[in-house]
Symmetry: none
Subunit: 403 residues, 2 copies
């Protein structure tokens, strides 16, 4: 459950500022080579640990015990939206994330360019990870040449081998399965719709795949596409309406930018590095009272199973902390969207370390920010959707519920 309706009723605009720092995939499990500590516990992070001494600590559950979230649901939960109730597919998130102006009812698809052999079998699901420039060239070609009667189609590059397609027509459904079989050596699956409007979309998508195959047949290495995360767009109540916040997203990757846009945040610049993100934060400080600030690489190293790399990324982020604190946010949240233990090389269901700094709290005296301290922290284990209400309360932006 979430508190979107409650926040909408009781939030009020004030000059105080909230910063939400998200280290993607932050949480971990005890690592043998680190003497049973997690990467977060082992990292040298004097700035974060100093911050911890005056902050409240705890853990949050992105969805529920045992449920591993994808990046989209995990971020919606951080933003206060129940991720089960407000489920939104990756097609929508990524096309919004690259700045496409989706309308209600549009069907959006996340695509992979892939390599197919002469029999049509997949030999590389990511077409040798072609660069964004090549993805852009191919997307432009498809955008010009693919034709469907009575339906507007939009092709766009996302990042590297990742692209997006949007279908715009009346009466299209989005309950359509992926065509990516998730393995090499197989043919792409046919798109299959689960109901009449979705079957209409599936037919159009299968036609697109066929036309694409013809158009880019002689390209190398990308000579085919796989469709994933087929989804239709519906508006969410915005941060402005729910929290009365002028909210900004500072993030490198389209996926997180898309989720922020759905929540009604402004997408600030197009940073490519942590330094550029910090620069944008400083430059736009006066224009907003909520900043979602996303750092990707803790998750990437977790997914790679790279213990030292994850430690290093945490240490790198630690150096950014003084630059954030110098701006004097009234409330600071430091957490992850989910855990990505290096042992599992994937997202996981484990609760995520959470730190909240603000003017009216019981500070945990441990002086360390780690899974062990957070597990004993005064915030307890809370649902991710509880974080925004707590931050709003710390920021003095919530009226009381009832007289």
């Amino acid at each position: 459950m979430d508190y979107i309706d409650t926040m909408t009723r009781f939030s009020r605009p004030t000059p105080s500022k909230i910063v939400m720092l998200v280290m993607d995939g932050l949480g971990g499990l005890p690592v043998k080579e680190l003497g049973g500590r997690t990467e977060l516990e082992a990292a040298r992070k004097p700035n974060i640990d100093k911050l911890a001494r005056s902050s409240a600590l705890g853990l949050h559950r992105p969805i529920a015990p045992g449920i591993t979230p994808g990046s989209g649901p995990a971020h919606f939960a951080l933003f206060g939206y129940d991720p089960v109730k407000w489920e939104m597919g990756r097609g929508v998130l990524e096309t919004l994330g690259v700045g496409f102006d989706l309308k209600q009812g549009d069907v959006a698809v996340r695509t992979n360019f892939c390599t197919l052999d002469e029999k049509g079998l997949i030999t590389d699901r990511r077409a040798g990870r072609i660069p964004t420039s090549e993805c852009a060239r191919l997307s432009e070609m498809l955008d010009k040449k693919v034709k469907l009667a009575g339906v507007k189609t939009f092709f766009m590059p996302v990042r590297d081998y990742r692209g997006g397609i949007v279908l715009r027509a009346k009466g299209l459904g989005a309950n359509v399965g992926d065509t990516d079989p998730q393995v090499v050596g197989a043919k792409p699956l046919a798109a299959i719709g689960a109901n009449a409007p979705s079957r209409k979309s599936a037919k159009l998508l299968n036609d697109i795949v066929k036309q694409t195959r013809r158009i880019i047949k002689n390209e190398r290495p990308a000579n085919g596409i796989l469709l994933r995360g087929i989804s239709s767009y519906r508006p969410y109540p915005s941060f402005k309406d729910v929290y009365k916040l002028r909210a900004a997203c500072i993030a490198v990757y389209p996926m997180y930018r898309g989720a922020s846009k759905i929540a009604g945040m402004d997408l600030i610049g197009q940073p490519q590095t942590l330094d550029e993100e910090l620069k944008l934060l400083k430059e736009t400080w006066e224009d907003y009272d909520f900043f979602f600030f996303h750092f990707k690489y803790t998750d990437s190293k977790g997914e790679d199973g790279d213990v030292k790399g994850k430690v290093r990324e945490i240490e790198k982020f630690d150096k950014a902390i003084p630059k954030v604190l110098k701006l004097k946010p009234d409330v600071l949240i430091l957490t992850g969207d989910h855990s990505t233990p290096t042992q599992l090389k994937s997202h996981s269901w484990h609760p995520v370390p959470l730190l909240i700094s603000g003017p009216a709290l019981r500070a945990d005296s441990s002086g360390k920010f780690g899974e062990t301290e957070c597990s004993a922290g005064s915030l307890d284990i809370i649902n991710a959707t509880n974080i925004m209400p707590l931050a709003m309360a710390q920021a003095g932006k919530l009226l009381k519920f009832g007289a």
Copy 2:
């Protein structure tokens, strides 16, 4: 709430195996004569305590704070079904538990044979606890002689003085109160239906009671019946569909077997002792990837208020642990379905000790499995319906929610 829909969407079959060991009524309260320890804390249980050193500990709430569950709801919650949403009466559970093949719409009743005096007042609600053989003889007699126009009736023995009745006809309701007044010296109550289809059932049931009274009038000590847990059967989504698990139930008593059958588990053998249960577990190990393994006597001793007895039963179960571990389950759950403090001599609402052993967890280092350690455990206090998702996650059987 539960995660049945989420599990149905995201579970996948894998070769890993989950064992759920349930010590019925496990939880307790501090006992003076045990120096303020609970029975679980006082028991000598080296195998369980050793297991605790590499496991995650916590507590679970069967339903909600303050709500004391019956055995049926407590087990449905352990199996992941919200016990409020998926309420099922004892009549259904026990008749299914003895192997009766209930159809949707059947009305099932749990009965007690009782002793009535010449005025029709109850002198013993359990007819001197007649043995199952006597219960079977009387049930067979009733099954032959009771006649209702247009309605099929089935009488069956359950265990000791407990029996079951099934009514099969169109349009029967099951919103009918018990006829057991729960005290001696009173007459059995009339069955009363709360709506038209249930009034139809109540009329039939009152007729059955009248005919029974005539048929077994001269029997001793059982010369009457009391009706309880009148309920109608509806199918639940099965473990196979929800969790993609081939699931087995190893349990002595009909009640737990019935609940397992409703959840789509296979009922393995008809064990009468813990040793027979362990033998069945070993014999069928290769055929299943989920085992629900039930141990009754911790609850029985709790209900009797027998402190030493409860300690002894826990110690007895401890000796079974190595035999289970030898089979190398990937995930092991050790818990109770509810608490049965000896002080209360009944089920209670207190959170229940929970241990989960698996490959991807933060072990609690206490090295003891008891209420005190569980209360400080890393799993926190969770709802019973969260246990199956956690076990599924540990077993690597869950895909992530969203991209």
